[in-house]
């Protein structure tokens, strides 16, 4: 019995050593602090600006600063008091400062901010009625429009060839160059509008080939990295809740200079156009997905996305849910590819 107890004691000592060895863990908090997410909302520091006069043409920027007690969704809109130009910042950080609130004079909604005009920033919160308003900022120099990129179309060249198409002519009321609204850039833009009468969702579309845009068979990029190539365009929304836009990037997978929908891949990106005005939309091509339409680009002959083989771009107008209660439509202006970063006019 004594021998048995001795062995058992040894085992217990071994277990105790294991307990002591095993109980040491990193005791930092896991994840974000709950009080930062669900605590009481307070504005700890009001909205301030780093300067009240700014020359964007000289590369100056304006930093906005405010401090909240918790992380909560907010939107800061900087509005040009003369032009109506609009820059929007969105975040849910409680420390509003640095890159998330640093303005270089660029826009989110056209037109551009003008030299000599004044701008004011307003922050509103998704979950709280409070708002913050900044001091007035005087713009002494406007941001120059960035150059470069691969222009798909600014819809100003009357000789550029487009391919417009629709499922049924009676669904489409407009599908062409227009100039009745103030354009985002220049004076012309393309507009599509219609009503889905047969419940098929699709209304009409516009195709712009690489040949038409650049004179080359494929859109020319200096990189084949899909993370570095951005599509950018101004999209005009009417605030219609059922308007969906699909942008198709059709690949000439076998490099024969033509696109065969049943054999070659189409990668697309869907946007719900629920705003009013000309909004700048940008995304890297890495965010596009292989088409799910049977026989319409859902089979990629090479099995992968190849941005250097894009031969044609299509802008599709869809009526969400196939409803016909109200017409749907959007405008497109200044569609351009950029490399390395999104277009920031």
């Amino acid at each position: 019995m004594k021998k048995y107890l001795l062995k058992l004691s040894s085992a217990m000592l071994l277990a105790l050593a294991l307990v002591l060895a095993g109980c040491s863990h990193d005791d930092d908090l896991e994840g974000p602090e709950l009080v930062d997410l669900f605590g009481e909302f307070e504005i700890l520091q009001p909205l301030t600006v780093s300067r009240t006069t700014v020359d964007f043409s000289a590369g100056e920027t304006v930093e906005f600063r405010a401090l909240l007690s918790i992380r909560t969704p907010w939107e800061m809109r900087i509005e040009g008091l003369t032009s109506g130009a609009l820059k929007v910042f969105e975040s849910n950080e409680k420390d509003i400062s640095g890159d998330i609130a640093n303005w270089n004079g660029s826009i989110t909604f056209a037109p551009s901010f003008q030299m000599g005009e004044q701008a004011v920033a307003t922050i509103r919160f998704t979950n709280y009625p409070d708002s913050l308003v900044s001091d007035t900022i005087t713009i002494t120099g406007a941001r120059p429009v960035p150059t470069g990129g691969v222009l798909i179309s600014d819809f100003e060249d009357p000789n550029q060839a487009f391919n417009v198409f629709s499922e049924a002519q009676f669904e489409e009321s407009i599908n062409g160059i227009a100039s009745t609204l103030p354009a985002a850039f220049g004076s012309n833009y393309h507009y599509m509008k219609g009503t889905d009468n047969n419940g098929s969702v699709f209304v009409c579309g516009l195709g712009v080939s690489a040949q038409s845009a650049t004179g080359e068979v494929h859109y020319p990029f200096t990189t084949s990295n899909e993370n570095r190539v951005y599509f950018n365009a101004f999209i005009y929304g009417e605030g219609a809740q059922f308007t969906n836009m699909v942008i198709d990037f059709q690949e000439d997978d076998n490099l024969d200079g033509t696109y065969v929908p049943a054999e070659e891949g189409t990668y697309n990106y869907t946007i719900k156009v629920d705003w009013v005005g000309w909004k700048l939309v940008s995304f890297p091509l890495s965010e596009t997905q292989l088409s799910t339409n049977g026989g319409l680009g859902n089979i990629d002959a090479n099995g992968r996305k190849e941005v250097d083989r894009i031969i044609n771009i299509q802008f599709i107008l869809l009526s969400e849910g196939g409803q016909n209660a109200e017409p749907v439509g959007y405008g497109i202006d200044y569609a351009v590819f950029t490399e390395g970063q999104p277009f920031q006019p």
């Binding site: 058992l8 085992a11 863990h25 990193d26 602090e33 669900f38």
Partner: protein, 578 residues
């Protein structure tokens, strides 16, 4: 100098696990398999369908399947098993909807009667912290009427007790020693866990090795190493990889006396998760942590009483993919009335789905902690290896009196978090569960079986509030019971009920692709759920039965009325394993 000598242990071809389709006869070719016919007529009603003009409230479905297994023995020490499945949906007349699949291909054998090997489809488990497929929720001490469905679900998803199905190769051999230790056993496994997409997602491999040291008199220690890793060269356009390693020592040592046993059981070890060449811009942190389970086990053999008191400490960053993956996939769509309402929303999973639907369970394991429903399980949602838990567990089991009339067990877990989630306050967890089985016919000497079963569990989670953030207070009570009466030889009258009530609130972790918590979602629950089942079962023999049952399931969600519904079913199942 001490010289040790050892002998290879002579092995036999008996790697059989419960339910595996290895025929026992030593014929050259033998057949085994399974067959099933399943037909159900479902109806749905309740608040969830209020104003619903699109959902048909009645539907009929089912299938017939036949698994034909052929075991071929080309020699004395080799076997090949191939199982082909023929499946026909109930409405798949004249060939439509009929599919044929290879369900299993396995070869196994002995090399020189010393090394056992097995290649192809493998059903494998190691230890509860390294590779283990733990039992899902809502099964404490099930009645016979529910156990049949668990057997079908386990068969369909390749679960054999606690195994996961993988494809690869496995071997084992053992050495016997004349003194000191009795036996030294070795076991190795290499398996493919995931197929590459050839472009961005690499192959994932699972490897495992185990050395078992069996002292003989005082017990054994098993040293286990497992590694779930990715092969970067198998994806052309990405060299991003991850790796999850776990090392453990499992021990079961004690003194075995004629009338009693007293010993120490448990497992201790380390884990690490390493990421390389990830494209994500945010900082990705490797995870390293340890775990420990050490318990004192006692057994009084004459009385059939056994108990284990354990201390458990599983680190917050302990990760073990093959031990933490959940069987129940709470994101899987339910089979009957998958979508309801004019907006065609996904119907919430009900108790009836969990108990009977073979398609809401995972077939393999993966590296991330899965989703779970806190009202079903919040104390150890990832099994014994649930990370961030420390405390005491007590298991007591009564195997039964000499007449075999009663059996019972009760388990308790009193745990708390080790690391706070978003706050320095720690959650406290309490869970008590137990069950009783009574073979009542043995009391009065009846010839027809009359078996009563009951089980219950209670679990609670609590955490103090802090600076305007709500406290956590969540509790769930679950009760189940059933009766099995043999009306005449082979014919059973079956009945069973499961009841669950849950109320309270929680914060659910929202994790990114690297398992880091990025946000918390507030979660509230106030519901009751009842599942009644009754019917008859005719047992042609121990492995073949025909049953006719009625199921009546009710969910009353007091927070979201549109999630309240009644789901009823009449079911005919003919099932055979041969």
């Amino acid at each position: 100098m001490i010289r040790y000598s050892f002998l290879f242990v002579t092995l036999v071809l008996s790697w059989t696990l419960a339910g595996e389709l290895w025929a026992q006869e030593e014929k050259k070719v033998t057949f085994g398999g399974a067959g099933r016919f399943w037909m159900e007529n479902n109806s749905i009603d309740g608040d969830a369908l209020e104003g619903d003009t699109t959902t048909a409230t009645r539907e009929m479905g089912g299938y017939a399947l036949f698994d034909l297994g052929i075991t071929i023995r080309p020699g004395k020490n080799a076997e090949i098993v191939a199982i082909t499945r023929f499946n026909s949906e109930l409405d798949g007349f004249w060939g439509a909807g009929i599919t044929t699949d290879i369900r299993q291909l396995t070869a196994r054998g002995l090399i020189k009667e010393k090394v056992r090997y097995k290649v192809g489809d493998l059903n494998t488990a190691f230890t509860p912290y390294t590779m283990y497929n733990f039992r899902p929720e809502l099964r404490v001490n099930e009645a016979s009427i529910f156990r049949n469905f668990e057997e079908i679900i386990n068969y369909e998803n390749f679960y054999q007790d606690s195994t996961w199905r993988q494809q690869g190769a496995e071997f084992d051999f053992a050495l016997a020693f004349p003194k000191g230790i009795k036996e030294l056993s070795f076991r190795g496994l290499i398996a493919k866990n995931r197929q590459t997409d050839f472009f961005f997602r690499p192959d994932r491999i699972f490897g495992a090795a185990q050395v078992g040291i069996n002292q003989g008199t005082y017990g054994r220690v098993d040293l286990t190493y497992v590694n779930l890793f990715e092969l970067a060269p198998s994806a052309m356009f990405s060299d991003a990889t991850s790796m999850n390693q776990v090392m453990s020592a499992r021990y079961d040592m004690g003194m075995d006396k004629e009338n009693s046993y007293l010993g120490i059981v448990g497992e201790a070890g380390l884990s690490g998760v390493m990421y390389e060449n990830q494209a994500a811009t945010e900082t990705i942190e490797d995870l390293e942590d340890s775990f420990l389970e050490v318990g004192l086990r006692g057994k009084l053999k004459k009385s059939g009483l056994m108990g284990t008191l354990s201390f458990v400490d599983v680190g917050p960053e302990f990760r073990s993919a093959a031990a933490q993956t959940r069987r129940l996939d709470v994101t899987a769509p339910s089979g009957a009335f998958t979508r309801i309402g004019n907006e065609e929303r996904v119907r919430p999973m009900s108790m009836g789905d969990i108990i009977t639907d073979r398609n809401v369970y995972s077939r393999t394991f993966g590296p991330l902690l899965g989703n779970f429903l806190p009202y079903l399980e919040n104390v150890q949602p990832f099994g014994a290896a649930t990370p961030n838990r420390r405390g005491i567990t007590l298991n007591v089991q009564y195997d039964g009196d000499s007449a075999g009339i009663f059996g019972a067990f009760v388990n308790t877990a009193l745990l708390s978090e080790i690391r706070g989630q978003g706050t320095t306050e720690l959650r406290d967890f309490t869970k008590v569960w137990g069950g009783v089985t009574a073979r009542l016919h043995r009391i009065y000497g009846g010839k027809q079986k009359l078996i009563f079963t009951a089980g219950a569990s209670y679990q609670s989670t609590a955490r103090d509030g802090v600076e305007g953030v709500d406290a956590v207070d969540l509790s769930t009570t679950f009760v189940e019971s059933g009766l099995e009466y043999e009306v005449f030889s082979g014919m059973d009258l079956l009945g069973g009920v499961k009841f669950l009530s849950s109320e309270g609130n929680e914060f659910l972790n929202q994790r990114d692709a690297f398992d880091a918590t990025t946000f918390y979602n507030q979660y509230s629950v106030d519901l009751t759920e009842t599942f009644f089942a009754g019917g008859f079962r005719y047992n042609f023999n121990e492995t073949v039965f025909l049953t006719l049952q009625g199921h009546f399931s009710t969910i009353e969600d007091n927070l979201t009325q549109r999630n309240s519904f009644d789901l009823n079913r009449v079911l005919i199942v003919y099932n055979m394993f041969f």
